[in-house]
């Protein structure tokens, strides 16, 4: 995993969210959300951009919804916002999904990643929202909690042109 590609950036973020251990030794998101027997969810059912249609239990989808290049930094910094939605198909498990969101908020707090030529720095979470599925056409049994995770990124695929 590295910031040499945008997919790499997302994978780094995904790895952070899945493997972070809360202070006091609470379960990681990987433990809470579970994993698939094989495939891209084998290390935790947090999928990038799109999830499989046949999932059960808990899962999450992580994607970037906005990634403008702003600022007077030579165009090497991307100020992006990632969207994470945590799901469950059973209303009975609402508290568990909320606990997952708590873990994500802790993992995102004051986090940074660095490598030669690339960085990712998290900013404070701007929004946590439990989607109120209360009427048609939505299935009321589904629990979904959405978090917006802003971050700044100077990826290798841009900074390698700094000397050009």
């Amino acid at each position: 995993m590295s910031t040499a590609s945008w997919t790499g950036v997302l994978k780094i973020i995904r790895h952070r969210l899945l493997t972070f251990t809360p202070v006091g030794g609470g379960p990681t998101l990987r433990t809470l959300i579970g994993a698939t027997a094989s495939g891209s969810g084998a290390d935790g059912k947090l999928f990038l951009n799109q999830a499989p249609d046949n999932l059960t239990g808990f899962w999450g989808v992580l994607r970037v919804i906005d990634a403008p290049i702003q600022g007077a930094d030579g165009g090497f910094m991307i100020k992006a916002t990632a969207e994470l939605i945590l799901y469950s198909l059973s209303r009975q498990t609402h508290a568990q999904v909320e606990a997952m969101a708590d873990t994500v908020m802790q993992a995102w707090r004051k986090w940074s990643y660095g490598e030669a030529g690339g960085t990712i720095v998290s900013s404070e979470i701007t929004n946590r929202f439990t989607i109120p599925y209360a009427s048609d056409p939505a299935n009321r049994e589904v629990v979904a909690i959405r978090l917006l995770l802003p971050f700044r990124c100077t990826p290798i695929f841009l900074t390698r042109y700094a000397a050009a």
Partner: protein
């Protein structure tokens, strides 16, 4: 010779200009959302115009983090489509008791957030245009120089 400050009037005019600018920027977003909602969320065969007519905005407000305006709707199903949902049984598929259940997959079609992000430049342009007009500058006249006791107003 006494000095009279025009700061209160200027502050009031700037506030009015900001409110007008926010309304102009919000109109850009509203129009884009309405345009994108006009074709419906799926095939377009069941469009009634309810979603389009429900797009609205709040009054401009001045909050602790600065002035803002909200663009939104009171239709919950617009929110479900925007953030995604699993259809209830019988919606988009045969219900219980029919011969086949049909696929009940996750549905999502984003309209509002893409409209907000894709019109950034137009929002800013609309805000600046209206703000300048309120402050007496911009196209169509108005002084291009800051007022000063030493320079007569040549408007």
């Amino acid at each position: 010779m006494s000095y009279r400050s025009n700061l209160p009037q200027i502050a009031q005019r700037m506030r009015a200009a900001t409110e007008a600018g926010l309304l102009a920027a919000a109109a850009v977003v509203e129009n884009k959302v309405k345009e994108d909602l006009a074709g419906g969320y799926t095939t377009g065969d069941f469009v009634t115009g309810t979603s389009v007519s429900a797009v609205t905005h709040s009054e401009p407000e001045f909050g602790p983090e600065g002035p803002f305006i909200l663009v939104g709707t009171n239709l919950m199903y617009n929110l479900y489509w925007e953030l995604g949902f699993v259809p209830a049984r019988g919606v988009f598929s045969p219900g219980i008791g029919r011969n086949t259940q049909g696929p009940i997959g996750f549905q999502r079609k984003e309209v509002w957030v893409p409209a907000l992000f894709s019109t950034r430049d137009q929002q800013l342009a609309a805000f600046q245009r209206v703000y300048a007009r309120f402050m007496g500058g911009g196209a169509g006249g108005g002084s291009q120089r800051a007022a000063s006791p030493r320079s007569p107003d040549t408007r």
